[in-house]
Symmetry: C2
Amino acid sequence: MYYYVFCYIFTSMNKEFIDKWISQLKKGSLSFVVLGILAYDQEYYGYDLIQEVKKKTAIDIAEGTLYPLLIRLKNEGLVESNWVPQETGIPRKYYKITKEGQSTFLEMRTYWTSLNQHLTTLTHAL
Amino acid sequence: MYYYVFCYIFTSMNKEFIDKWISQLKKGSLSFVVLGILAYDQEYYGYDLIQEVKKKTAIDIAEGTLYPLLIRLKNEGLVESNWVPQETGIPRKYYKITKEGQSTFLEMRTYWTSLNQHLTTLTHAL
DNA sequence: CAAAATACATAGTAATACAATGTATTGTTT
DNA sequence: AAACAATACATTGTATTACTATGTATTTTG
């Protein structure tokens, strides 16, 4: 009886910690992922990007995460946007990467690759 | 003349963005790195861990980052600590990973590996 | 003898993911 | 026809966490 109770508590605590960790991990990777997707020179609108990110990285982004992120990227000059009216339905705001966005992305990729090599070496040495 | 000015402004803006990004990236990876180092079953004390992290991952951690992190990990039951008086100098607080810390670390590694594969595929497709 | 290194710790700030909420349109189900 | 889900944008408030700054105390180095 007690066993199950303790077991529940422990796995629950653990899951909570992992979930929080994943959330923190996203803080760094999301802007990289979004720039990475836009780096193909294809244009995407916000709602579409959410699906695209999920499809390509299995990461679920909340709308309340992506829209502010796109606004930040735009303020930094890494992407630019334009409204495109639709024949039917709500107009879409399409985002496109800029030259500066491209170069920033490449720098980010260099850092990411390096960090990744270190972490792989470190965490697989057991 | 103007050219140099603009050039300075742009690279400066870019560097700031990258620095902020790296800082965010650390938010997710640091707990993973620290658990990864402790997962060898070796004990480390805080100050030593800072050097070890730098040596193994080229990441600079501030003391004001690591000490609170270790306290969080301890509160979560992922590590345990004990004071060890030194023959000379300030006593050291040694940290050791727990069983729960080990299993949590393995779960984190699984997620990390998966995320990493996705990101590598995504960002190297150009 | 001053400065740097060692070794711990905390308070305050900035950045960001997410839940919740809001607006508005279109398509689907009951 | 009404209710609901999906599409598409956006903002507000909260929680988490890296970092700067600051503080204490000892030892080693220049």
